[in-house]
Symmetry: C2
Amino acid sequence: MNQPTSQSETFGLRDLQSLIATMYSSRDEVRGIEGTFMWLMEEVGELAAALREETPDEAAREFADVLAWLATIANVAGIDLQTAVLEKYGRGCPGCGHMVCKCDLSEKP
Amino acid sequence: MNQPTSQSETFGLRDLQSLIATMYSSRDEVRGIEGTFMWLMEEVGELAAALREETPDEAAREFADVLAWLATIANVAGIDLQTAVLEKYGRGCPGCGHMVCKCDLSEKP
């Protein structure tokens, strides 16, 4: 894992999963995916509130929490987030295949 | 940005934000934070369904979508996710300060 205290180094999705596993894996196993999903939802709600009402610093802390809980769930489910992102988005937009999306604007995403 | 097609390289949170910005920034600006949050919530719902009912490959695709929308919102809000995570979790558990969390099990997280 990269040293997580250095802001200038690349901090990867695998570093995130590894950091969260080190910090919380014993708890995560007890809680399981469903219990952990409840915490994720709480943090998503706090992110929404922070984006509407709070400072950028507070929003940043809520983004961190959402990412931490998402990494927790991925750890419990045995999913590698880097592989997941690169498989789906690494070759371009999943809708149109272009690196700069050319999907119709009415379409998702 | 790292080459996103190489699975062995570290793919960072900044690479994720950069990839999504390249792919979707013109759309993101039109949609704004509130419109984008709706898409994030839809993907969070799809992740929940995939974790309950689908294969690991399908769950991985939904994790990728949640991360993509989270990166989109961070881009629109001007938040650097790497800095956000390292500020909050890089020095240990925000609750107890230890790298292996020692918070009381009844407490969050």
